[in-house]
Amino acid sequence: MILPRRRLVLLAACCAVSPAVATPADVAALIQVLVGDAPLKDGLIHLDLPVMVENGNSVAMTVSVADPPSPVEAIHVFAEGNPLPLVAVFRFGPRSGAPRVTTRMRLATSQTVIAIAKLRDGTCWRDSIDLLVTLAACIDQA
């Protein structure tokens, strides 16, 4: 068991060294580059994450597109409050059974997570979740 005082020092050290986090503007810029001139609409894609996260070190995330009008080329996931805004890019090939992926992600703080699906017909779809993180991924010290 770590002494409370030592834990405080660890926490301070951890937060002091963590570089500036991404901002919603950074993410918006990345999405602009990704989407370009194509229309970006809400819906179709579904991002499944818990709204209350106890431990940000490992959070189950599922992204899926239900009944896409044209094949899904890629799904991009962004986290606005992480040190790096990019989380993952999933591209689906001809042998993919359904445009759906489950993985586990890290969350540095309470923030908005955004998923963008790019379809072959050029349209882009968006879903986002605002979530609260109790224990941030940053505190896990070696």
Partner: protein, 106 residues
């Protein structure tokens, strides 16, 4: 070499999607942390993952440090006939590892 667990259903019907689950044993060091001496721990993550079925792509994924340690992936595959799933991933040192899993379509 890292340890990889792959789960595929025993019974697979032709042209019916089935789920593949993958668990890779890897620290996914984010590069954001410091050790007890205050030295930055260098980034070491799996940055690319690709799954193919007899050479045809199923899922091609880029990972960033926001993927949790011991990355877990679950995704859907559709097969017409029996074949081999090849799961290939690359880490920050450029080391590539491939796991082969035979699937039987009944």
């Amino acid at each position: 070499m890292v340890r990889v667990l792959v789960n595929v259903p025993k019974q697979i019907a032709a042209n019916a999607p089935f789920d593949v689950k993958v668990l890779i044993s890897h620290p996914m060091e984010s590069g954001q942390r410091r050790d007890q001496l205050g030295q930055a721990i260098p980034r070491d993550i799996i940055n690319h993952f690709i799954c193919t079925l007899d050479g045809e792509t199923v899922l091609d994924a880029d990972f960033f440090p926001a993927i949790a340690a011991n990355p877990f992936l679950s995704f859907s595959v559709v097969a017409e006939k029996s074949g081999t799933l090849a799961l290939t991933f690359t880490d920050d040192h450029g080391v590539t590892q491939t796991e082969l899993v035979a699937i039987t379509v009944t």
